[in-house]
Symmetry: D3
Subunit: 251 residues, 6 copies
Amino acid sequence: MRPNSAKRKLLAGESVNCGWLSIPSSYSAEIMARQGFDCVNVDLQHAMTGFETAVTMLQAIATTDAIPLARVGSHDPAPMMKLLDAGAYGIICPMISTAEEAEGFVDACRYPPIGSRSYGPARGVLYGGADYVSCANDEILTIAMIETGQGVENVDAIAAVDQLDALFIGPNDMCMDLGKAPKAESDDPDVVAAIEAVLQAGNRAGKPVGIFCSSADAALGRRSAGFRFLVPGSDANSLTGIAREAVAKLS
Amino acid sequence: MRPNSAKRKLLAGESVNCGWLSIPSSYSAEIMARQGFDCVNVDLQHAMTGFETAVTMLQAIATTDAIPLARVGSHDPAPMMKLLDAGAYGIICPMISTAEEAEGFVDACRYPPIGSRSYGPARGVLYGGADYVSCANDEILTIAMIETGQGVENVDAIAAVDQLDALFIGPNDMCMDLGKAPKAESDDPDVVAAIEAVLQAGNRAGKPVGIFCSSADAALGRRSAGFRFLVPGSDANSLTGIAREAVAKLS
Amino acid sequence: MRPNSAKRKLLAGESVNCGWLSIPSSYSAEIMARQGFDCVNVDLQHAMTGFETAVTMLQAIATTDAIPLARVGSHDPAPMMKLLDAGAYGIICPMISTAEEAEGFVDACRYPPIGSRSYGPARGVLYGGADYVSCANDEILTIAMIETGQGVENVDAIAAVDQLDALFIGPNDMCMDLGKAPKAESDDPDVVAAIEAVLQAGNRAGKPVGIFCSSADAALGRRSAGFRFLVPGSDANSLTGIAREAVAKLS
Amino acid sequence: MRPNSAKRKLLAGESVNCGWLSIPSSYSAEIMARQGFDCVNVDLQHAMTGFETAVTMLQAIATTDAIPLARVGSHDPAPMMKLLDAGAYGIICPMISTAEEAEGFVDACRYPPIGSRSYGPARGVLYGGADYVSCANDEILTIAMIETGQGVENVDAIAAVDQLDALFIGPNDMCMDLGKAPKAESDDPDVVAAIEAVLQAGNRAGKPVGIFCSSADAALGRRSAGFRFLVPGSDANSLTGIAREAVAKLS
Amino acid sequence: MRPNSAKRKLLAGESVNCGWLSIPSSYSAEIMARQGFDCVNVDLQHAMTGFETAVTMLQAIATTDAIPLARVGSHDPAPMMKLLDAGAYGIICPMISTAEEAEGFVDACRYPPIGSRSYGPARGVLYGGADYVSCANDEILTIAMIETGQGVENVDAIAAVDQLDALFIGPNDMCMDLGKAPKAESDDPDVVAAIEAVLQAGNRAGKPVGIFCSSADAALGRRSAGFRFLVPGSDANSLTGIAREAVAKLS
Amino acid sequence: MRPNSAKRKLLAGESVNCGWLSIPSSYSAEIMARQGFDCVNVDLQHAMTGFETAVTMLQAIATTDAIPLARVGSHDPAPMMKLLDAGAYGIICPMISTAEEAEGFVDACRYPPIGSRSYGPARGVLYGGADYVSCANDEILTIAMIETGQGVENVDAIAAVDQLDALFIGPNDMCMDLGKAPKAESDDPDVVAAIEAVLQAGNRAGKPVGIFCSSADAALGRRSAGFRFLVPGSDANSLTGIAREAVAKLS
């Protein structure tokens, strides 16, 4: 099976960067994936992307060395399994607030006897290779988003869940759940403390912690602070910023 | 009929900026259109976009004040008419090298008795209003691309074509047709001279001249030089640049 | 944030009419939205429409003054949040039979601290404006469908749910759940009584009540009876009727 | 090969009615085709429809007894052949103004030795049957649109073209080409005379003549006048009318 | 209502064969459906197919005599109802391990008073006919997949569920759930015994049992063993096999 | 620039096999491309495929080592250029009957100063690499179809056209143009002679000749006869055959 180079870097203690796709297009996906990210995530939670376009985006990413990931919109196992069948090499699951939720999540991403993922890796074998089924439990990356106060409270139990590979902070939802204004790099003390608590829990459990950032510069700062899975904004945000700047210059 | 504010600015001697859409997505189209461009162009020549996605992009642009344009891939009148029916408020036609070609182009964009555009403004009336057919000949913008040596030789005749509203330089094709390496802001003397010749011809004919630029800064420079229809790069180029920069920072 | 004019009319005690989209096309959506409805609903329950086409339909509606709504297919919060992120300004939720179900529904449509909607208003900010997140809880319209006998029994408790803005009757499902033949304007006494009970509960709670009708004439009748959110049939039904009539005339 | 019942009715001197699809959706196509039309036309000239959606519409029509037709956007043979390969049982070609244009059109619709249609009836054999290639020249319907003054002048020569099965008037374009306001049922004397001239030429040549109408009532009138291929408006126009009427009633 | 010929054959004790669609295309769906299968299944669990493409595939199947089925990805009732509304004449539900799960499944596929399917048979009436709603409970086919050890344990209770029409074995998932390597025709004794247990339970309950096979030859063997709903591989597997063989011959 | 391995094999006198895609799906495209073909062709002439799906198919092919080609539907340069921009590494042009037609074809596929291809290699640079523009004239494969009697008459002149890389016979069209029944491996003496004439002309000109075959066995025979670009049937034909065989076995 094609190795999951992003997972291996994380396991080796290295940091990985991750492109983030909110635009539902295989062309913009290939543009992003071609620029050198370790992995690229197809968002199906807050992006304008449905399943079939996501498949073409996973194919576009597969033309490059970047590892294809997908973020789902809920804890429902069915879309997780379908995206794995479509060749995603990792799933990012939002709003994990308890160890039970984390266990349900990883259960959907692992074949028996570890989990209960259903057999049918349509594109998985095309991308991963003929031995996909026997190796997938090792290669597929499972990333739980910690973005609620309850998730922070339970973060040690979550981080301890077997088969869960990494934690990932959604800072905007974290802010809102804590009653603060949403901000990727908030300096609100409660938010700062919550984020730090997740990072420390990951360190204690020996599991990498990631965070969504508003820019590459912000991601550099987070990396210095110990985060190892770094998203320097999304394609949509990047496009917004550069277009706004262009119009401002020309006005 | 909804006025074509971009055309009116050009007729009033003002400069307009134009967002350029190479990504086939109504979502990225809306992002771009929302940032304040005077007009936004859906490219169907070199972009990965087909007709039906172009329609959704024209709809997305129509949620904003930016005027929707479309660039076609050839001199064939049928796609021009179909894009106008779909609500494009202007057509950019590539590779105009003779006055006859320019006449054929504008003929397709004007209803009788001026031209031979066929009746059937399906989305045109939704976007433009009930009086679309009687006003369209005035509001629709026709922009001929000058991007060959032959086009430069014939530029005065082209600029003199009635119903042709503006000239637009494709600098990369201009370079290649002149035997030079393609570059948006080439300093090759032959290219510089050709571009200047088009600008002067436009000025003589009282018609605005535009040019594709590699960035907003480059567009500012072109505007200072007298160009009045300015494209500060494409969405795809912008995304490439910002992703490459992010990866570089994080590597 | 762009005001939700349909919600404001309802809050002001006025009636609103709502176009209903069962055809999965941004073009027919724009045709419908352009004709003057207060709001237009993209159906994702019984229509042939998936998420990505729904996005283009929401964009098409956003080219007009009609407020875009979406009906989801179940009580699952994920599609509700994703459609709100896509710019729906209200959600119609089917088969609400208990106050708990209604609470779960509105929880998904409100940001913390009121609800648990996740942050990521991709098209929401494009359509609504930069202050979308701080205002969305006020502007987004929540409409619970009462269409079961159990829903009628619990209608006062449902109507009392905070953040629930309106009730909406699905008369065909109501008929079937009561053991009657499905009919939009049934004169079966049990159905008539159930519908009247919902209307009275809405009145007691000070919340507007709507109903799906088979035609504009039927909607006029319902409005006279006190209903304030009126759907005069769907695009698909309208098209069926007019085509059938045309064929009958020509046969 | 499945017989082309619409063509056979025309050859037998009967009149046929034709549904007209401007909405790019296989669902609305199936709704229309199911209502009893003799044939249903997928418009690719002025509608918002591209090739791939047209294929799904042709499939939707093929679930019924209505014969699937397609209108192309120009005289280019390639799209005609591709739509025939996709299972269209007839082509409507716009803007035929000379016999040469008509000959080019029918040449594209007939296999050698009659014409030069290229072999590859992908869906043709699925819809038509295993003997498609040997029978297609007989079953495929060729309909030339007469909608210019020049077309009227040349109408006898056009009608005399072998393999051309019928004439079809586009009254709006006819009006505009004659310098009149576009109107489906114009009473302008010049337009009336031009339309009558086409009808008489068809009668002289023994070929049926059709016309686009604004409604079923208008089509009834045209049928009384001798027209035998009758289009009672389009799906988009019907939807516009009924939605506008509904809003008017409820306002 | 158009009779469900596949269900009637099963009720009459005959065997049916079923084409299996993993490729998301209405064209390949029509190719498959045209070859003479009793029924053809649109897979939405492990295939690369989303809802809207599934609709066009159901339409493509409806151009033939093959009965259209759909396999959903989970026990969620909403997609079942939506696919039935789209004209599926049967639902295959994966991973049924208890009678309660089977009851929930069939409840979603039956209108009141038997079940709780919501009213709105958009394409159902187009395909099935005007009396669709009153007949659908009889014609719609419900097929529960038994593919876990728990399902085998509970198979008699599952088979006894009223309104459940047939059992269908997913042999690959069965293998994996039993801790064996996935194989369509495994000769592992535990797997063989589990499959036999399901077949016997079906026989006891008087309900047909089906199984996914790797080829037509394998299906013949299963039929001899008493299975009556036979899937001779999928389109994707068939294509893989024939392409691999072609390359091998030419290498 | 990524080397065009299929072209290099042809230039080295080796034979290449080519998968042929008639099904409009990136998933079936990836299945085919993954089986080991030297190159895989996306058909846009007789297949049910439009431009945007073709792009996703080119992306799917690009996940493998197979070289992506595209067949266009006519001699129009615009679609050729757009498909090259989309990453096709070769164009197959149908119905080349004269040297002038061949010259027009290769002109569209070569950048100045050799040809007049317009600049804008959107996906070309993603797939080919940063030096795409300077190397594309060498790597892009141009294949002219000889499939008419006139083409056979002119085959030496066609084969002599500079920049034309290979000849490819469409045997079905060849049969029909010669007045014979279409058959991939016809033994009609006139067809046999015509095909042999093309092969000999290719040999004289030192240019490889290919042919569409009905199966891998037929392709083996053609290879023995000297053909070097071999298409062993299409995906659609393969699927038809295997499904028909399965149904026959089970009936």
